[in-house]
Symmetry: D2
């Protein structure tokens, strides 16, 4: 083993809030556990505020920090841009990075609109011809139990997919006195529960079934329409270091919690209810909510097929439940597979059976798959095309919700 | 105690399939465990076939049997008609019984159409003025854990209702070679998963929240559109003794399983997906499916409020999960309440804590509440008005499903 | 079907407390659901108090009542004596009944001492030669999921038995102000947690493995040694109608709860810890406790073999968990079998899949197996020999506990 | 924040198998997430084989490697020795390190005998006077849910401790063809299931209750007494890099799996059954087994008190179940606390609620507590005295097992 002779992959990360922290752990850890074809080098962390960025770089293990992402794109020693900022900045950064010949990992949701996602996908398409790769950070695809589910379905172990039911339930907005944050501001976040957590179950549905969405009917609801306004400065402090993924009182939130008597409108959805069909016609039902008291990060998905079913709940993330309908009824039942054996996806690198993994490991696996994809010269999934499709689904849900739930078809005709 | 001096309540039951069997157990058991104000007398069982009805009467504990329900309505010693036949016969029997001055218990779904349910409700309205009472058999309201949930919500223990999510999942149609039965014939059954099991979660939503549905968007799907035809005779044998409630290979099914190579169309839905709003505006999401492999009778309902939540799954029917959001985060969580203590609804009559009840006990409790209601001179819930509302919801789902999922309002303006 | 022409089996039941109530429900229900070779006739209920016994007989469905069990033994129309009294009366009644040529069903624990159990077994041995049968009421053997477990083990589905671990946890004595009752009095109850609930897991271990215990090491503990004394009259009222099986504040308890400042000693064990070996040498670990807060009736048993395992918890009584170690590691796991399919033991008589059974149904199945055994002319298990073995295990635990946990062998040499 | 000015803590780690890998991840991660008073420096990894140690150092993030741990003790830039070797080497290394003025973290079990543990404790006692600290690596104390349990008990939330029941179940030896490894060799491992995994539940019992063991009765069992011998070279390769903690087919195992027809004896226990009493007299029941098919790492512990209970299972490691017996029976039940809120131990450093942690994080928290303890000048728990007590319990179990399960008292009189 001569790891120092491996090709190096210089990485720059933009943003250093929640997502920046977990991405950093992944970059630090991936090559400690997996044999990677390239050695990631954590070259530079980019944030808006020089002082805070410098501290974050030290804390998170980046060699240096910077405040101007455009100048980072000019660096020869940077090969990959990892974008962990709020969604309204993704398109601009990602397109510029790809044009500058940098591989891109962008946090989900890919963008705040289909137009932005389309622009990003166009850029990825052009870059691909130059050997430059792009990927969207739907990390739940890398949870071993969910990867196992995908493999079982692909192998035909549940037969033909007949139905998908999924929920992504959290409760961090249950308290109506929790203050406004950038996540509740449509201009910044693009969407509420739909884009933040609903996007994950839309993507997982595609991932597990290998299909696209053909159409949707949607209902968006803002359950608490007014919330206390946090101090202006605090809101601004959310800054470029936004991050992603349902947090309860995350770093930003506590900063913003200073009290004023004023309230402001919540401009995103608190809950999203969706009925849909896959390209095969199979019906799908989805719910995303940040008001489901007692559900902390209950990403649940169940796929029923003609020969069996798989079922998953992130609150018990090391477990996949699998039902094999070809078994005799006398001993049939959901089998609780602890996906922690060496035979399970990604597990050969980790601990003995039963010594479970946590949330962060999906990000480590994401780095592994991304680096391997780059080394192999092919886009790892979920590609920007995958991300664009999710964006189309989200937009269709919004349109349907605004049009009396009218059935709204999704056309990927622009797909390349 | 002088039970023999209690007023007697003469009962006739029509139908003796699955539902007839469980209703009989309830009539036999109720006064053994509960102090009832009237003593039920199991006078006569009515079926289409004289010989089979006689045998059923003996087996199930009815004094005698008969084949003509109209003549039974003339009997002075019969005070109550318990209707356990398929839905297409409910309206005629129930209306006639009420007009004949008999109390009525009718299995769900109340009817196969709103018009029929309206006719029944009109009859119940007139009968009520004569001291005659009517009730619909949504027995899950009498599962102790669900009754406890209703009480906790009514007491404000979860605050204001914000969201309802419910599923009723079975898998007895998962096998595409299972033959056609009357339950898959729209003319007989009226509806498929929607009316058979979806009706239960519609009713429970009303029961738990104390609200009505304001509107729905629905998607019905027939997953397996053609199935083997069972012999004509066997189909006919489903007869009047139809029964109700999701069965897998129930009595009828096995009779019908004789093989012919012919197939016929399934004319009802296999799965129903619904998004809806309550009268308060709170969003609701519902799924009913008979194709959810591994889910045997997974009636699940969760109500999230502003101060907490309750959650239930019939596959663990003695348990209610309750989340109290006013608790400190450090020790907050769903509390698994085994609703088997003397403090829980109906439990004072049964066994020590933890010695759980089963499916049939909801029917026993239904008899208890019905007899007490009659003795007290008031309609026990769910009333025919409640049943009519459910019927309206089901019909609105069907209309919406046929109209590109268009939002469809529900008007109870005819309600009395 | 001509049920009236079946041979009849006249039954007398002694005792009418908790156990009498559940036995009555079983006698009333068995032939309603199962085709029995003989038709049970609930002829007479026997209690100490004439007035209360008469009321109980009416309530519970017995034709008449009596107060002198010896005279009942003389009745020609009584074929079977069902003994539901406290353990200190079992030996005398059972022996007399068997000598009078009556079949006997006796509640567990079979007796309060090995000597008593031996006497009963001797009587059963003699009676058997006359075609008279005897059985002990370890009803958990008749829970479908546990019967399924026994069948799977007998078929070799888990290979050779290697280990048994079991718990029977309740919490009804957790409150140290709960008053003394006959169950806490060694003279009446014979034993505490050990005999009341520990006996069940001892019996189930034998049932599931098909083996006997070879030896034990035991620790008995009285956690709350003094409790409030209830009024003398109330204590006496526990009377002959004692019943059996862990109750929390059962009928007796509430009667006894009248307050006096006096306290008295608890003379039985509150918890019993046992390590043991089966005849094959396989190690066993058992715990019985009435102080396990939050565990209402958690009878749990897991058997690990060379090729798999089965696991059960009565708090989820319709489910058996089965692990098949011959499966590939990738999809291996405990399979949650809902033992509610027609393919499962006893289930052909009941409801559709997933419409679970409750505590009482084990008693109904016990009646079924007992009546079938009598009709077939053979002792149904658990026989008095089985019960005697359990008694020997309990006694050995007590002896070991009193002798510094010394290993104590169990000899069934007197066995016939 | 000026982290570079923090005092540095030079660390050397001995051993680089499973335990070495997870310790390395902890040393790499702790200061990334927690504000530590000293900055750990991963100076040198020590192994037996120069080449393999060098590769391991690179892979695991250590600046350099070495093969002679005695020379490492002479280094001025090394302040702490982290011992991850098999148990038979602990005493010598730990004593020498402490005498050399190095802080020590030693993996569990602390030693292979009480004499060794006593020697280590004596050394720690002397070292403490010089400001040198020692700690045993019972990392399960640092699982947030278990730390929460300990806090709740210490606060009196379950009242007085009445009973402890615990299991540590694995199944990696279930296959009788799995080959011999150093873990099955008494000379190397000291003990089998008892010392490897039983030690954890002994320690956790002390941790949660704040008590010591007063005496035990034990049964050790070797279920599969002969196993295939792996090639001699492969056995040797287990080398110094042994590691610790139940592994299934860990690094060593696969190396050893080369086949020869020879078999050799298993000289350790496969399962350990223990009944015990705490210093308060409270009864305890423990089982450790590596033959519990389907249980991958089921470390389960439940403590019942006079006012409630806590219950934990490592297979669902982010959850603590808490029963508050002071609640009204109507809403009482075990509350499922997802110990992933900022209010929970160690969680302020990690992800949003519900985004669970994994096995490795207990090791990270161990580093945090150790470094903080050193900086604060006090031994973090579990101290060597704690470890010595566990060793005494293990030895008493062995003695009792060899003496007909005789009750065996544990005396900590030598304790300082």
């Amino acid at each position: 083993m001569a790891e120092l002779e491996k090709p190096r992959l210089g990485v720059a990360m933009i943003g250093h809030a929640f997502m920046g922290r977990v991405h950093s752990q992944a970059w630090r850890s991936a090559s400690r556990f997996f044999d990677l074809p390239m050695e990631p080098q954590m070259r530079v962390l980019v944030g808006r505020d020089a002082q805070r960025s410098k501290q974050a770089a030290q804390r998170l293990g980046w060699v240096e920090s910077a405040t101007d992402w455009r100048r980072v794109l000019e660096r020869k020693d940077v090969d990959l841009i990892d974008i962990c900022t709020p969604g309204d900045t993704h398109a601009e950064i990602a397109a510029a990075a790809l044009e500058a010949g940098k591989h891109v990992l962008v946090e989900k949701p890919m963008a705040n609109s289909v137009a932005e996602a389309q622009r990003m996908n166009d850029a990825a398409h052009r870059a691909r011809a130059q050997g430059i790769h792009a990927m969207v950070g739907f990390t739940y695809r890398r949870v071993p139990a969910l990867k196992l589910a995908q493999e079982l379905i692909a192998e035909g172990r549940i037969g033909e997919v007949r139905q998908v039911r999924a929920q992504y339930l959290q409760d961090w907005l249950g308290d109506e006195t929790a203050p406004l944050s950038w996540r509740l501001d449509k201009a910044r976040a693009g969407s509420g529960a739909l884009g933040d957590i609903g996007a994950h179950i839309v993507d997982l549905t595609c991932f597990l079934t290998g299909q696209r969405f053909a159409g949707v009917s949607g209902m968006l609801d803002t359950i608490v329409a007014e919330r206390p306004v946090a101090a202006a400065a605090a809101v601004a402090a959310g800054g470029i270091g936004g991050g992603s993924g349902g947090l309860r009182g995350g770093p930003g939130a506590s900063a913003e919690a200073s009290g004023t008597a004023a309230t402001g409108p919540v401009t995103v959805d608190d809950a999203a209810l969706v009925t849909a069909r896959l390209s095969s016609g199979a019906p799908v039902i989805l719910e995303a909510s940040r008001f489901a008291w007692g559900r902390k990060n209950a990403l649940r998905i169940e796929v029923s097929g003609s020969r069996g079913a798989v079922s998953f709940d992130f609150e018990d993330m090391n477990v996949l439940h699998y039902y094999d309908a070809t078994q005799p009824a006398r001993t049939a039942g959901f089998t609780r597979i602890m996906a922690t054996e060496p035979e399970h996806p990604y597990l050969e690198a980790w601990w003995p059976a039963g010594h479970g993994l946590g949330y962060e490991h999906g990000f480590t696996h994401q780095v592994v798959d991304l680096v391997r994809g780059i080394a192999a010269g092919k886009d790892p999934r979920p590609s920007f095309e995958d991300g664009l499709h999710v964006q189309r689904v989200l937009e269709a849900v919004e349109r349907s919700s605004g049009a009396a739930h009218q059935w709204t078809e999704i056309h990927d005709h622009e797909r390349r």
